[in-house]
Symmetry: C2
Subunit: 223 residues, 2 copies
């Protein structure tokens, strides 16, 4: 038998009752599938198999749990993005940057981040939620976490697509983010209940093709 000195929950999971991580993973799952504000603390603690009070003990409040989640999940993704961008910039030795690798440095970590989260599939939705349901408390956290990435990549794209005016570049970067976020959300317009989701790499390649062409487009209208 399993030793039960940890109480009713005792020992049936990990050697040390890592309630905190269980809560984070449960919250992540529910935030992604149900939405930020529609997910209650009770749902989270129930999913995690812990007590309601645990959230307040470990995080203080639902909002602080959300912030902690963002820090744990988004920050590493952005670090990976920046590391890859660093490598590209080092290799370029001050010259123009190759567009597609820069794009991949931005896009691929987002998809990897999606498939790695808690071993669940559709967790890219969590990412989308952050954009669509901006809790007041997240405003500053998100800005802080994304500010550096946004600035660095904007400059990188400026070096990769030098023919673009600044304002046009800003907008195209915005369109790129829209494409990625919407795709991470996993909502498809056509393609009714297509049984199995396609492999990430295939989708990534499609995103890259689309956005690379969009970013490279001439600034005059084809009218």
């Amino acid at each position: 038998m399993i030793e039960s000195r940890f109480g009713p929950n005792g020992g049936n999971r990990l050697p040390q009752p890592d309630t905190k991580n269980r809560l984070l993973e449960a919250a992540e799952r529910l935030f992604a599938s149900e939405g930020l504000s529609r997910t209650s603390l009770r749902a989270i603690t129930c999913e995690a198999g812990v007590n309601v009070a645990a959230v307040h003990y470990h995080f203080g409040s639902k909002d602080e749990l959300l912030v902690e989640l963002v820090r744990r999940r988004i920050a590493p993704m952005n670090e990976e993005r920046l590391a890859r961008l660093d490598a590209i910039e080092r290799a370029s030795e001050g010259g123009p940057l190759p567009l597609e690798p820069v794009l991949r440095a931005f896009v691929e970590p987002a998809f990897r981040f999606r498939s790695e989260m808690s071993g669940h599939e559709q967790l890219g939705r969590f990412f989308g939620r952050l954009y669509a349901e901006p809790e007041e408390i997240l405003e500053s956290t998100l800005r802080e976490i994304f500010e550096d990435v946004a600035k660095r990549f904007r400059d990188a794209f400026a070096r990769a697509v030098p023919h673009l005016p600044d304002d046009e570049l800003d907008w195209r970067f915005h369109f790129l983010v829209g494409t990625v976020v919407h795709t991470l959300m996993g909502r498809r317009e056509m393609q009714a209940p297509t049984d199995d989701p396609p492999p990430d790499q295939e989708v990534i390649d499609r995103v890259i093709r689309f956005t690379a062409a969009g970013l490279s487009a001439p600034v005059e209208m084809g009218q």
Copy 2:
């Protein structure tokens, strides 16, 4: 003095107390700025200056109010899209379709719809909310309203960009929607508190340039 036979609210607005429209407009505003699930009935009725019970009298429930709102707002936009697509298809006489007009037929009504709503600025957000916070009750309504548009435009794009395989076309349509929705939401990555928002037509042209290039891109990788 204003006649007061309409009670405490009497006569201080419109000749007939169009509570229903006031509720719709208030809900629209709050759904857009605060989010669907974070907006309470009390907030809506307060904003509208009417009584809490009015929502249930006129709509039956919060959910039904939302559905009514969607029908009133999204349906006309999609009708305009389809009318414009009809015209393009008639003019083409069975031949290939010109990409940019088809794109504009899809994109421009969405922006017009945004700036016309209740005379308020950032109401495109409401549109984005519908995508990001799919209330269960909306699933069927949204599917019903968008099904026709999605199918018709998918086929139109197939005729406009005939070199694309079906699956690639589906994805690029998906990317187009992502670009439009994210842009309608009005969240900018760069461009901190840029004072005045740019005119719609300028943004539309940028969206068209980006997505036209993305849709026309060759299917092989530039690697």
